[in-house]
């Protein structure tokens, strides 16, 4: 008789699994966390290296010397902008044409779901200006993009000045094999999204943009630049993009090699690298955690994040002017950019040799996906083990019920009682999903109703509705049992918990595959309390734990952690304000760029969490 079909052996196996389950779960969870913490240490983290043969080393002669010209352009741009209040389109067109580019403009408009702090009105419209430098001896089949996002709040005029000076310098060279597009967008990322959608002829986010008149070929790589001062002390690079997408690691390697060549101080997450000191690994852990938090939020941290959706490798470079002694002027930054573009010019294919999925404990260290995935695997194993335990308990209970009575024939004892169990499961599932749907749809739909009845602005109305529906979900279990009548109370909650565990495991697994950081973060918080939730035992303690690890609380906690890691800790009140702002931005970004954090949390994880809440308060 086989191992699994022999009832005696199966019962033995079941008893073994049930006895060892709790220690195994704890071990697995600890292993997952320990694996993640071990990611900063050498065998799991490797030095970065250039994989693309065509880009080779930093063997170029940078000849950019247009620092004064860049500053002059920047001053003009700032003056014109102050005068007109919006992007000085005519001046930009004139200047780009004088530098020698083919200039085009594009107008766009977007109706926001609710007016937020930056825009303060529903309708946002603007104009993008871009100039194309055609490759002198090649067909315009491929292109590179240098973009400067100009919003109403950020100044960025030095970046525009540097862009124009670089364009003038590039125009004088004959070795370009790809077209170069110099793009200045209005309203920051909204303009960038409009331009990208029109360039690739798609309509993903409901933006109305006029079609582009000038096109340059498939974009191979893009660099977004943000500079607000004439001198910088360091260049910060941002890689995390929309929904946690990352550019090819080779682009980051390219930037890092040019930083080293030019002696520039380049930082990742605002921290310079220092692996020689004693707390090198600790700093690596801080940088890693910051990257995990930023990737989990799924926000496009710069224009580059929107390029990644179209599989265009992109980076954002931010010039930071802080209190350091050694400062670099625009010429140094310009030379680094010139070197990068010259090397990108050598590319024959899209960047594909290096990693697309990685974590960065530092600018010159990375962890590849094969080495960091086991961390989330261990965490999800806990859910699997718990589900297995519940399944065995359900089967044992079913078999235990039948054995004393004498089974009538070889009919399988489970389906009739299980059938009752299934029917009792459908109702909590449906109600939780309905709550999730309400959380997704109602805040934006109901903002006008809310502003009529309460003295709040629309953005606040959306956020407060969100929180209200979230909290209302907590009251559900006390009312669910009026709808549903259970016959076998003990097994009802077990079946519900089994379904909830599998649902959570599936969701977290899928999320971890596309956005590892989000999956890992949610798994760390939700897995232990999901495994622990049961109606027996200290209910208030479990309830408190469950609330503390709900998706919203995870968001709040991660905000505090993020600011703590950036060495700018928040007080509770500030934290709460930031939390509300983050909620509003999450909803807004979902509607404007298609960020997936809001729907994932509201339609996926919140209903799942509600199921565990139901399990906890099962009567």
């Amino acid at each position: 008789m086989g191992l699994l079909s022999d009832p005696v052996r199966r019962r033995a196996l079941a008893r073994l699994v049930l006895r060892l389950n709790a220690p195994l779960c704890v071990l697995s969870y600890v292993a997952g966390i320990a694996w993640f913490l071990a990611l900063v240490f050498p065998p799991l983290t490797q030095r970065t290296y250039m994989s693309e043969n065509a880009m080779g080393s930093t063997m170029v002669e940078e000849q950019f010397a247009g620092g004064d010209r860049a500053r002059a352009f920047a001053r003009d741009f700032a003056a014109h902008r102050k005068k007109s209040g919006a992007l000085p389109v005519a001046w930009l067109e004139r200047t780009m044409r004088s530098v020698g580019l083919e200039v085009y403009t594009q107008s766009f408009s977007r109706k926001l779901p609710f007016p937020d702090e930056t825009h303060e009105r529903y309708m946002v419209s603007g104009t993008n200006v871009y100039g194309i430098l055609r490759a002198p001896r090649a067909a315009s089949t491929e292109s590179l993009v240098l973009t400067v996002p100009c919003g109403s709040d950020s100044t960025n005029s030095q970046a525009v000045g540097l862009l124009l000076a670089l364009a003038a310098h590039f125009r004088g060279q004959i070795y370009w094999a790809k077209d170069i597009v110099f793009l200045v967008t209005e309203h920051d990322l909204l303009g960038t999204e409009a331009w990208l959608e029109a360039y690739h002829d798609v309509n993903v986010t409901g933006m109305q943009s006029s079609p582009l008149q000038g096109r340059a070929g498939a974009i191979q790589a893009a660099v977004a630049l943000e500079l607000s001062s004439d001198v910088v002390t360091s260049l910060d690079v941002a890689v995390e993009g929309l929904n946690g997408q990352l550019p090819n690691l080779d682009l980051l390697n390219l930037f890092q090699t040019f930083c080293q060549k030019g002696g520039l101080l380049c930082t990742l997450q605002g921290k310079p690298e220092d692996w020689t000191s004693l707390d090198g690994p600790l700093q690596g852990l801080q940088t890693l955690l910051l990257m995990v938090l930023r990737q989990a939020s799924g926000r496009p941290h710069g224009s580059h994040g929107l390029f990644l959706r179209y599989r265009v490798e992109a980076l954002t470079l931010r010039g930071i002017n802080s209190f350091r002694q050694y400062k670099y002027d625009l010429v140094a930054v310009g030379k680094a950019l010139e070197g990068m573009f010259r090397k990108l010019n050598h590319l024959l294919e899209r960047l594909h040799q290096s990693f697309f999925l990685y974590l960065l404990p530092g600018l010159s260290r990375f962890v590849s996906i094969g080495l960091y995935m086991p961390a989330v695997g261990f965490l999800l194993l806990v859910l699997g083990l718990k589900a297995l335990e519940l399944w065995m308990q359900l089967h044992e209970a079913g078999m235990g019920l039948e054995e004393p009575g004498g089974a009538p024939g070889p009919s399988v004892p489970l389906p009739p009682s299980q059938g009752v169990g299934l029917a009792s499961l459908v109702a909590p599932l449906l109600i939780s999903q309905a709550m999730g749907l309400a959380l997704y749809v109602l805040p934006v739909l109901g903002q006008h109703v809310a502003t009529q009845h309460f003295p709040v602005a629309e953005a606040e109305a959306v956020v407060l509705t969100l929180l209200a529906i979230y909290a209302a979900g907590l009251a559900l279990p006390h009312n669910t049992h009026r709808v549903v009548s259970t016959q076998a109370p003990d097994r009802g909650w077990m079946a519900l918990k089994l379904v909830a565990l599998i649902y959570l495991a599936l969701q977290l697994g899928c999320i971890a595959l596309t956005n590892f950081s989000l999956g890992f973060l949610l798994a760390t918080t939700m897995v232990p309390t999901a495994a622990l939730a049961k109606p027996h035992g200290p209910r208030t303690l479990y309830a408190a734990l469950l609330v503390l690890t709900s998706p919203a609380a995870t968001l709040l906690g991660s905000l505090f952690l993020w600011r703590e890691l950036q060495e700018a800790p928040l007080s509770l009140a500030e934290g709460w304000q930031l939390f509300l702002a983050a909620l509003a931005q999450g909803v807004l970004e979902h509607h404007t760029y298609g960020a997936l954090l809001f729907p994932l949390l509201s339609l996926g994880l919140y209903p799942c969490w509600l199921l565990f809440w139901n399990v906890l308060f099962w009567k």
Binding site: A54, G56, M59, V60, R137, A138, A177, R342, H346
Partner: protein, 393 residues
């Protein structure tokens, strides 16, 4: 009077003696020169220069080949006797900051592309098939004359290859490879069709020595830029152009060749690149070659030196068997190698080129075998029950 007479007679005698001695010295000098005529047995020279890479980052391979082309032309081999195979996408590449030029030195001293480069196989025509057809002569009748290797049994052929290679193969334009066995067989076909007198094979790639391991035809001398397991290194990084301009081995070979003129008497033993300059260890193979390398002039392969001497004396040519025997004795070669060989495996190549035989590493048994054994054990325990295991442990 008698004194002057005797003096004049003595003077004439002395003069005749001196003249005769000079004459004899001159005669023997002419005979020495005539002997030199037969030092090598070739009457014409050919060169097949192949660059197997394309794309901008392989600039240095094209520069290598064009530099050798330039040297070979300078030393006398005409374009009609050179088969040049290049991808030829460097000079007019949009990335080239100096269009229509290919430089081999970073001070941009020498444009090896020049005005008179004749590329016979260009761009996608550089394939393994075309290369082998050129070597063996199996060419469709419509092929133009410039694309043929019209060598005969008195031709000395220089074959120069460069590109990316590995242990036992050479990559052709990112899409195919030629193995060392194929190359050896092609050379054997050439020998059997009497398409060469002597062959000099130079290869500048990573692990280049592996390409000549399998040669088994006579009269082949081979030079390589690196041993098996070593990489050949590039030289001359040029920031203005943005790529490496040459490879080290060819760079130093070329420096050496720049000092050669058609009349120089330098021999193949001087063509050596020290490890301090080349970093990799260049290799050579001379066991198949019948002459001693120190008797082989550089111009025997790299130049096309016409053996013409104008003399007014008659020379008696004698077959000096002693010289022939001594040259054989100096070589100290096994006579068996002179017989025509049929298969590449016959030669104890490792001993010939002084390589240590590689120790075969022990690998644990493969997955299939392990799986088979696991299945057998499982079936055993299933049939006889798990309690039998306690008799084993």
């Amino acid at each position: 009077m008698a004194v002057t007479d005797s003096l004049s007679r003595a003077a004439t005698v002395l003069a005749t003696v001196l003249l005769l001695s000079f004459g004899s010295v001159a005669a023997s000098h002419i005979e020495d020169q005539a002997e030199q005529f037969f030092r090598s047995g070739h009457t014409n020279n050919w060169a097949v220069l192949v660059c197997t890479s394309r794309f901008w980052f392989n600039y240095r391979h094209v520069a290598n080949t064009l530099s050798v082309y330039r040297s070979v032309k300078r030393l006398g081999i005409p374009d009609s006797h050179i088969v040049l195979m290049l991808a030829d996408d460097m000079a007019c590449n949009p990335r080239n900051p100096k269009p229509a030029t290919v430089f081999s030195h970073k001070n941009m001293e020498l444009n090896v592309y020049g005005d008179d480069v004749e590329v016979d196989y260009r761009s996608y025509e550089v394939t393994v098939e075309n290369f082998l057809r050129v070597l063996t002569g199996r060419i469709p009748p419509s092929t133009p004359r410039s694309k043929r290797l019209l060598s005969d049994d008195r031709s000395n052929i220089l074959i120069y290859m460069t590109g990316h290679g590995g242990n036992g193969f050479l990559k052709f334009q990112d899409s195919e490879e030629i193995t060392n066995i194929e190359l050896a067989d092609a050379f054997e076909q050439m020998w059997q069709k009497r398409r060469y007198n002597e062959l000099l094979f130079i290869i500048d790639t990573c692990q280049g020595a592996s390409m000549y391991e399998r040669f088994y035809s006579p009269n082949i001398m081979a030079l390589a830029s690196s041993q098996v397991g070593e990489d050949s290194l590039s030289h001359q990084p040029d920031p203005a152009i943005g790529v490496h301009l040459m490879d080290r081995y060819t760079f130093y070979v070329l420096e050496f060749l720049e000092e050669i003129n058609p009349a120089s008497q330098t021999n193949m033993n001087d063509l050596v690149c020290p490890k301090s300059l080349c970093v990799s260890t260049p290799g050579h193979r001379t066991d198949l070659f019948q002459r001693d390398p120190k008797n082989v002039l550089i111009t025997d392969f790299f130049g096309s030196v016409r053996k013409v001497e104008i003399t007014t004396e008659t020379i008696k040519l004698q077959q000096d068997s002693e010289i022939m025997e001594s040259s054989y004795k100096e070589d100290q070669m096994d006579e068996k190698l002179m017989e025509p060989l049929k298969y590449a495996e016959q030669l104890p190549v490792a001993q010939i080129i002084h390589q240590k035989p590689k120790l075969k590493d022990w690998h644990p048994p493969g997955g299939f075998i392990l799986g088979l054994w696991a299945l057998i054990i499982m079936v055993f325990f299933k049939t006889y029950g798990i309690k039998h295991m306690k008799f084993i442990f």
